[in-house]
């Protein structure tokens, strides 16, 4: 068993000579690789964000040209397509079973009369 008592002026125990750094070597190598990749993601993110500036400008330009107000991410209903322009508090406005984006929508059931 290796103990932390080893010091630099003592030769390693013969039993440890062939097994020294059996786990820590590959582990430290793997850790370094992961840390390098982590740093690379930060660098790549900075580079990609800079490179995306013309694209963002192009999108912003279209927004300015057409007077757009919302992202075309959620196109299924009026109040999801244009959340910033929707009627205020518009739960169930599209059809009785429409899930809405307010927390209440998942708690308050549809009025019974509408489902019969």
């Amino acid at each position: 068993m290796s103990t932390p008592r080893a010091s630099s002026d003592q030769p390693p125990h013969p039993a440890r000579q062939h097994s020294a750094w059996r786990w820590s070597g590959p582990f430290l190598g793997l850790l370094m690789l992961a840390l390098l990749l982590f740093a690379a993601t930060l660098i790549q993110a900075t580079v990609a964000t800079d490179a995306a500036t013309p694209l963002l400008r192009q999108r912003a330009g279209l927004v300015a040209e057409l007077g757009l107000t919302d992202l075309a991410l959620f196109t299924e209903a009026r109040y999801t397509r244009h959340p910033s322009q929707a009627d205020l508090h518009s739960a169930f406005q599209d059809h009785p079973m429409a899930l809405d984006r307010f927390p209440t929508g998942s708690l308050v059931p549809v009025p019974a009369g509408l489902t019969e």
């Binding site: 080893a6 630099s8 750094w21 007077g67 107000t69 999801t80 910033s84």
Partner: protein, 381 residues
């Protein structure tokens, strides 16, 4: 000095070697723990990276949206606004200019998709022609020169020719758009003349926008002004809310993992207690036992964090957040094809690191310290 430093480093490496060997004695158990730990970090990181990127992107893109929009409300719902409202509004002090917008929705039963029909203020397509968003063109399989067949509000067929397709790189804001001539728009929706969907106002001094909005409500009480800052706030809230929902769904898994990790880290088995007793009996000091166990925890939690984060980065910024697409799509047929721009908030990553790695280390420290300060003879018994 350098000799001392080397000795310290070598000692720490021996401790790490011992810790890794201890982990390797039960590979199945520790690999499972590492996988679950990395999976939790992956889910949390993916959510954080995606919502942060979308928040930043929406803030930058929508910063160019109209400064002030005025809707008319009838019986609490958005209604068409008469053109003469524009004259009253542009007379308000601080308003420099204004124009009406024509836009609306059309549900296409052929593909069960909602389109946003819109009239560009400047340079609209000629009558009988339309420009399509890339999502509409893709969904309907249309290209330049094709005809899009729709049924108007009066039930008449309307088949304008496609003379333009918007750049696919702008899909995030234009995927479902159909741009047309104002006369076509009014005829298609049977809109009364001299009415608009809403009005856009330009304010001379941006700091006066709120004041102008107050004056609008006073002058025309049946209107609702929408400020650009409200649009930006809406998106901040939408992504914050979606992030919160994902965290809520994940909270069960997080709790289960916390219990597992706590049990693994805090509850020392009899075998581990015995091992510590033996180490102390052969001359290990308390701080060395603690350092050894901390290395064990650090190796596990650091690797889990890095693996989880790197996979999340790959998922969100190189695989277009594939796992989130079904959640974002909802029931939408038209979904923009896009890859988020990697806006990374260092503070958020640091917070994630702190909340995923630190609790595990603390959970390890306390029970080890308790056992390590006890007499070896007592521990081994």
């Amino acid at each position: 000095m350098i000799q001392d430093m080397r000795a310290v480093l070598r000692r720490q490496r021996y401790l790490l070697e011992y810790s890794l060997a201890a982990l390797a004695r039960r590979p199945g158990k520790h690999l499972l723990l590492l996988s679950v730990y990395a999976l939790i970090v992956f889910l949390l990181s993916s959510t954080l990276l995606f919502t942060q990127a979308m928040r930043q992107e929406s803030a930058r893109v929508l910063a160019e949206s109209p400064e002030l929009i005025v809707q008319r409300l009838v019986a609490g719902r958005h209604d068409l606004i008469p053109a003469h409202y524009l004259a009253s509004l542009t007379r308000i002090r601080g308003v420099s200019d204004g124009h009406g917008r024509l836009w609306g929705y059309f549900y296409d039963p052929a593909v069960r998709a909602n389109y946003t029909l819109m009239v560009p203020r400047l340079d609209p397509p000629p009558a009988g022609e339309i420009h399509l968003g890339a999502g509409v063109a893709r969904t309907r399989g249309l290209g330049l020169g094709d005809y899009l067949s729709l049924r108007s509000a009066r039930g008449e067929p309307f088949a304008p020719r496609v003379t333009g397709v918007l750049d696919g790189r702008t899909e995030l804001v234009s995927s479902d758009l159909i741009l047309m001539h104002p006369d076509d728009f009014r005829h298609f929706f049977a809109l009364p003349p001299e009415h608009f969907t809403d009005l856009v106002l330009e304010v001379r001094n941006p700091r006066e926008v709120r004041k102008v909005a107050e004056k609008i409500i006073q002058a025309l009480p049946d209107t609702r002004p929408i400020l650009r800052e409200e649009i930006l706030r809406t998106y901040d809230a939408v992504f914050g809310w979606r992030q919160g929902m994902v965290f809520l769904v994940l909270s069960g898994a997080l709790l289960a993992f916390a219990i597992l990790a706590w049990d693994r880290a805090a509850g020392l088995s009899a075998e581990e207690r015995r091992e510590i007793g033996i180490l102390k009996a052969i001359g290990w000091e308390t701080r060395e036992v603690i350092a050894m166990k901390l290395w064990e925890g650090a190796a596990l939690s650091l690797m889990a964090f890095l693996i989880g984060y790197l996979l999340a980065y790959l998922h969100v910024f190189h695989l277009s957040a594939t796992l989130f697409a079904p959640v974002l799509k909802g029931w939408a047929v038209l979904y923009p094809s896009f890859t988020p721009t990697p806006f990374i908030d260092g503070l958020q990553v640091a917070t994630l690191f702190f909340f995923t790695v630190f609790p595990y280390m603390v959970a390890i420290l306390i029970p080890i310290w308790r056992v390590a300060i006890t007499d070896p003879d007592q521990v081994m018994r």
